[in-house]
Point group: C2
Chain length 927, copies 2
């Protein structure tokens, strides 16, 4: 955790592999490694020699290394093999880069490259003067001495809050909190001029580890190397000059020793399955991992909390379905053996007429999900989604306030290395072709340069979406053909289980396809975004997310959309069926909502279980194992023994996986959010399953961050960015989709229509009969009549589910008036539902202020407290300086006349320029 | 414009009426009026005595008035009459207030109260030290010395821009612009410490008049008077202690003399009808009136510009209707005399059967507005609204940048005087009833205190809305009864013109009712908001706007909604009509869209013309006349002669109307925006009329602001606030309303259905026949058959417009299958249209970034320029100070040893504390 002097903290680590071939370079390299500038007090210590840093510092005092060194090296490089030349170039770049870092004020410690090849670490420490300078540049808000009280709610709310705190005490994580949660220390962007404002007890710990590493990262990012005209560490890592760059974890997360580092604390109170019932220690997470990751976990936590009420309501809705199943007249009528509805055969030739009562089980199961409570539930869930987003905005604002992010402004970002490279290429090209071009044109990539990228993007995305659709279509074809094939079977049991077998296998195939395509799409989206060459890291991330989301969304939901809105709608009618291929009829749907529900639940559960278990737990473990094996194979034993003897924190962290961003984590949750909201009308238990998954997911992610990943760079972020827009988009889409699910997929509207418009006595009796149309079996096309039917002779009319004119009507088999009436009702319901829910959402959005009232008051109060505090501090300084000047004056009494005059004018200034001299006196008091 | 010394500018004026009864007070008052504190250099000059201010200043030097003066006065007050006592109290308050102002550093000039009663002015001047102090507190951004280049677009865009500038040159107002529009001076919140940053040529003109008056206003607002424990000028005006408080205009707006003040410039280049074709000089408006009013005019300008393309498209759509009128088959069929459609009588008993071809004119007129182009136009207008809002967001951002409003934060506002009074009452009440109450409870009005206000609000708003509805219903009843009454008439011409007469009178009644209710609702909304006692001025404004908008919106659109969606839909059918009162049938609709169009155009045009002419021009003129008359009557002549002799700017401004806020201006425009977007499907010329109106409106408003109103206080504002939300709400509402207008009100869907589903040959031939149902005249109820019908014997069946089963069908007169099919199609169209347009709007919203790219780049660039500039300035100061210290050191050489040490340590500090000492040295250079 520290340099060899056990004093200076290691704030950042760069790791690289080196290989040396030519031993005669050894002395030259050794010379270079000891380059240091005494002015900035930086050292490059050769770890193995055992010299203490202080010794070296003294040694090097006054020594000055001439800058011609690189030239010398280049001369040496000439007679090397290509591989070695590459290695050598990398080494030169490393050396130049490290020299620049030292110039920027950082202090560096390096291992001696004492083997022919191997892993080496550059450890970086940022001294106080660098930290304070950078903190000022980055406008990092730091707590000042001033504390102020946070206004609390009065009256009943306070009481309620206390009771709530009492109740949830066992659920609170046991992390050391601020002593006084009712006080908040006033924060102010760090400024060296106003150093007296801050409560600096120890300059080594004033900035915590996360802040220190962020500062170092900033320097690393902007320090240039001339060699390739490139900027910062990202380019160097991209060019393989360095392997990795990461800040260090705070220590081991396991072990019984008492040094309570924050990583251990996080592990104990957060990153274990054993504490799944506890709240998350968000402030500690933020302190350790930075605001961006803190916001992710805060969001995940809020989402999981919000899933609790929706799960409860979902379960109640489901139970309502269970309870009312006995009193549901349509399903009773269906199951009643006395109602002998002879249905038309389900397939040509080989299928027989069948009795509707044989589908009794399906009808009863359908009722579980297809009942009036579902309508209520989908309105509830639409409002739930709005509420969730509103609450998130509020929580985000609250966190911004407590994490001192208010007023954080967007900063100009460096272009990505890829963008710079492309720009360079363009410049060169222009130079080659023509001399006198417009200056402006060169400065950035124009629309024309990006055209191929955009085109490739557009066409590939289109292709991928087509791929998904064809996969869905493939599964449909599988289902139709298998069903047909199985119905040829002579085995009676096979034939009776056709439906179950086909559905089950089809859904599993679907799931597998989705999982495979998901992985492919992730890679494709990344590749496509790289083709696009976005300018900054931020735009890169946003475009990647949008593309990945689009592809994964289509992938996850295409089959579900098919089942919900298309399956069984294009089958035609008896006597004029629609055929897919020659002889294969379109598949019929029985209990649409039921099938949708099965589809949804299997895909959702399967996706979650498999992705959680295999992709998130299994694959990283495998990777780790694989890398370990590889390392063992490639590296000689000496290193291993060396490492195992005394494994330093940087060695341990290097063996962890690098952090690759939050996108996959968010993506998984957003897709799940889609399952919970989009088709919730058909599957009220979705929130429950999501809840169960998320309780695990939180700890799984936590564990990954604490134990399996290198410590991520802390990133300041005020919000969750584009994810919020995606969430709100899904929320809006869910309204219209649920409206259609209820009106088109479910039987809700036909039942309502029957009860209030067609029923003789206002009850549901006769509903089943009403929904079935008659078909004259003699109208069946030749060759499609059922063969081997035992009662083909007895059947004159068979029934099918549709609203069509009976065979004896004038326009036989045309859609009947009921069909159009029911369709009108369905569409009217969609309009009503959509606009009502949208209006309610807008109302909720409008009623709940985005910024909690107490927070907006606090922010305003903070400003006035700040002004008061400043004025008070300055006033005190003023007094001090006045006394100082008085003393100065007395001192001058004995001086010459000229001096006296100067002193007097100085005094006058100090009066008119109170403020500016205040810090001057503060320095006095400090000294 | 200046104090009597012709040097100090009058920044603000307070006006009050005084009355004196007891002459023995004269000397005492005179004494009080000469109260002044020499320390702050404030004076109260007795204007009539002719003493120069400087004289008085000298006289009063060293004099100190004891604070017992008020006590003395109170003793005198005892034996006064109640009216005089009130006057006296006001006077005491005034004196205390003015004393406090002087203490705050302002300088005051007062007229001598030399008459028994009359108008007196307090003129206020803010000296430099007050201005700079307050500017720092208010964080007013001022331009610094540093200029930087604004990056321009390159290539084609630049060329296009230049061409555009050339083309529009005659349209540009001739106001002095910044010399170099490509440079912008870097702005930075004013800070006295960093005074060297700013380009201060003359301290009197560094802050422009608008800023000066804003600063004075801020002081006036927060200066307390103890007398009633209240804060600032608003309370005093509310209590009638002062009559008015206003900043002065820059001078006369007319007159040929050459002193080109900004007011004159504005009048010449902006506030005349003669310059209606020119762009507005927005920057000058902002400079003169402040950001809030500047934003209003910028918004109005953008809106007017956006109306140009929509008017053009609207006119094209209208022309398309005109051109295609001859080729429209349905209207041709209707006019064809050969198609003898015998229609059922329009009223019971007195109306005869009639031939459809007699309605030929209506049919042809209908086609003008009811053709496929309208569908396109309403999609266009929905996107237009989205585009407009997007462009406004961008323009707002651009103005924010150029007006240095970026980073402007919301500040804590003072509570309104009414709120404070209410709070005081509550405190007193609690004190009276119980002693030991919770401290928190007292601090603010709780939900319980506000309950009565909210209840009154809710119920009154509900009542007002009911009132509107009943007014609409009243007009309907008027129409039905008058129509019935007129059809009894024996006069043939009367009878033939029934429809025209009734419609015209009804719409005019409607218009009058709307205009009257509009004024009432404005007052009611204000009163209701006052009942609510909102805490701050901002919430007051927001709630007032919301309430007024709700009421006025319902008022303006209720009758139009009726015509669009309800008229003619509940008439029943022949033989079973719906009757309103006994014997009065519900009114039928002929050419729905046509009627809607008439209704819309008359209300829109009438409202605009009458409101513009009468309310905005006439009433203010009348008011002015009335007040002049009143003033002449009440005040003796001496004053008049005095004023007319030498009318000062404050006298002139006092005679103007006070500024009462932008709400009415915005409201008028927003309601107009509603007319333009909400029902645009029925009236494509609406944008054109709106455009014509607005071209006038801009100049009308401008004239009002420049010539008829006192100069408003300048208010900083970053956006147009709640109006934006209302606009975007109307935009969203317009989508669904237009969807319904097209699908339900117009004949678009039935025609489409006929052409593609029912027509024999795919043409529109036979459409009219298809939409008319048959009715067997023998089924007419007894007593409703037409009397005196010449061909009653020949008629077996009459026709009516509906889709119903024919009399010979089984379910005669029930809705036919076509009815339900058409209804389904209508509803499907609504869903399709709504979701398509909403999706397109979201897409447009998403595609156009809210912040223009060049502006966001400029803002980022400005930050880095600022940092560079600071560092450079500080570096220069550093050099200066170092040379200074070196010289100091040399000076000290001759001093004692102790002094030398002190000097050395000073030197050390100055090195480590470069920044803080920089301004110290800057002072040196200035001196």
């Amino acid at each position: 955790m520290h340099f060899r002097d056990s004093k200076r903290k290691v704030d950042y680590v760069l790791a690289y592999h080196y290989r040396k071939r030519v031993p005669r370079h050894q002395p030259g390299a050794g010379l270079l490694e000891s380059v240091h500038r005494p002015a900035s007090l930086a050292i490059v210590s050769n770890g193995e020699t055992g010299k203490s840093c202080l010794d070296q510092q003294e040694q090097s005092c006054g020594e000055h290394v001439p800058p011609e060194q690189p030239g010398l090296l280049e001369a040496q490089v000439v007679d090397l093999s290509p591989l070695d030349a590459l290695e050598e170039e990398k080494r030169v770049q490393r050396e130049e880069y490290e020299r620049n870092l030292v110039e920027a004020g950082l202090e560096i410690e390096k291992d001696l490259e004492n083997k022919s090849q191997g892993l080496s670490f550059v450890r970086i420490h940022a001294p106080w003067h660098v930290l304070s300078r950078e903190a000022e540049l980055l406008k990092i808000k730091m707590p000042t001495k001033k504390m102020y009280e946070i206004k609390e709610e009065g009256g009943i709310l306070k009481k309620l809050n206390e009771v709530w705190c009492k109740l949830t005490e066992p659920l609170q994580p046991q992390v050391p909190q601020q002593d006084n949660t009712k006080m908040k220390s006033l924060s102010y962007p760090f400024s060296r001029e106003k150093i007296y404002l801050y409560n600096i007890k120890d300059k080594d710990t004033f900035f915590d580890n996360a802040t220190r590493s962020r500062i170092v990262r900033e320097i690393l990012k902007r320090t240039p190397t001339k060699a390739r005209n490139s900027m910062g560490i990202t380019t160097l890592i991209a060019n393989n000059v360095y392997d990795a760059a990461y800040p260090l974890h705070d220590g081991e997360y396991e072990g019984q020793n008492d040094d309570n580092n924050e990583r251990k604390l996080l592990y104990r109170e957060w990153a274990r399955y054993g504490v799944f019932y506890k709240f998350q220690p968000i402030d500690l997470i933020r302190k350790y991992f930075g605001e961006k990751i803190g916001l992710y976990f805060a969001w995940l936590g809020l989402y999981t909390e919000f899933l609790i009420p929706s799960s409860v309501v979902g379960v109640i809705v489901f139970l309502y379905g269970c309870i009312t199943i006995e009193s549901d007249i349509p399903s009773k009528e269906m199951c009643d053996q006395r109602n002998a509805f002879t249905m038309c055969p389900l397939c040509d030739k080989f299928c027989d007429y069948w009795n509707l009562s044989s589908a009794c089980a399906t009808a009863r199961a359908s009722h579980l999900f297809d009942n009036p409570a579902t309508v209520f539930f989908s309105i509830f869930m639409a409002l739930w989604a709005t509420m969730f987003l509103e609450q998130w905005k509020r929580l985000q604002m609250r966190l911004s306030y407590f994490w001192d992010l208010t007023g954080l402004e967007e900063e100009e970002e460096h272009p990505r290395p890829e963008y710079e490279t492309k720009l360079l290429q363009k410049k060169l090209k222009i130079k080659n072709t023509t001399e006198n071009t417009n200056e402006d044109e060169k400065e950035k990539l124009t629309w024309r340069d990006r055209m191929p990228g955009y085109l490739a993007n557009f066409s590939l995305i289109l292709f991928m979406i087509m791929l998904t659709f064809s996969a869905v279509f493939g599964v449909i074809v599988y289902r139709i053909t298998t069903a047909a094939a199985l119905s040829f079977s002579t085995n009676e049991t096979t034939r009776s289980n056709v439906r179950v077998t086909v559905t089950a296998t089809a859904v599993i195939i679907n799931l597998v396809v989705i999982l495979i395509l998901d992985e492919i799409y992730g890679a494709v989206a990344k590749w496509l975004t790289e083709i696009e060459v976005p300018k900054t890291e931020k735009t890169f991330e946003e475009r990647l997310i949008l593309k990945a989301f689009l592809l994964k969304f289509v992938n996850s939901y295409a089959s579900i959309f098919y089942v919900a809105f298309f399956k069984g709608r294009f089958i035609g009618r008896p006597g004029r069926y629609v055929y897919v291929f020659d002889g294969y009829r379109m598949e019929e749907a029985r209990g649409c909502l039921m099938e949708l529900c099965i589809q949804l639940s299997i895909i959702m559960l399967g996706k979650q279980l498999i992705q959680n278990n295999i992709f998130e737990i299994g694959i990283p473990k495998l990777k780790k194992l694989f890398r370990k094996l590889k390392d063992e194979r490639t590296e000689p034993k000496e290193v291993n023994t060396n490492q195992s003897k005394d494994p330093q924190q940087w060695d341990l962290d290097y063996s962890l996986e690098p952090f690759t961003g939050l996108t996959p984590e968010y993506m998984e949750m957003i897709i799940q959010f889609g399952f919970v909201t989009l088709f919730v009308a058909s599957f009220p238990l979705a929130p429950l399953f999501a809840l169960l998954n998320n309780v695990i997911e939180v700890r799984l992610d936590a564990k990954k961050f604490v134990t399996e990943l290198r410590r991520p760079d802390t990133v300041r972020a005020k919000d969750i960015g584009i994810w919020y827009n995606i969430l709100s988009g899904i929320g809006k889409l869910s309204v219209i989709i649920n409206a259609f699910v209820i009106s088109v997929t479910s039987d809700f509207i036909p039942r309502l229509m029957y009860q209030y418009a067609y029923s003789q006595n206002g009850t549901m009796h006769g509903f089943i009969n009403h929904t079935l149309s008659y078909f004259n079996v003699s109208h069946l096309k030749a060759g499609t009549q059922p063969e081997n039917s035992p009662f083909a002779q007895d059947v004159l009319f068979c029934r099918f589910k549709d609203y069509r004119e009976p065979p004896w009507s004038q326009n036989s088999y045309e859609f009947s008036k009921q069909y159009w009436a029911v369709l009108s009702a369905r569409l009217a319901f969609v309009i009503l539902f959509q606009n009502l829910v949208m209006f309610l959402s807008v109302l909720v959005d409008w009623m709940i202020p985005d910024i909690p009232k107490d927070i907006s008051e606090q922010i305003k109060k903070e400003k006035s407290v700040l002004v008061d505090f400043f004025l008070k501090e300055e006033h005190e300084k003023l007094k001090l300086i006045e006394s100082l000047i008085t003393c100065d004056k007395h001192g001058h009494q004995s001086g010459t006349k000229g001096q006296r005059i100067r002193a007097a004018s100085f005094c006058q200034f100090s009066r008119s320029q109170k403020g500016s001299l205040a810090s001057f006196s503060s320095q006095h008091t400090e000294v």
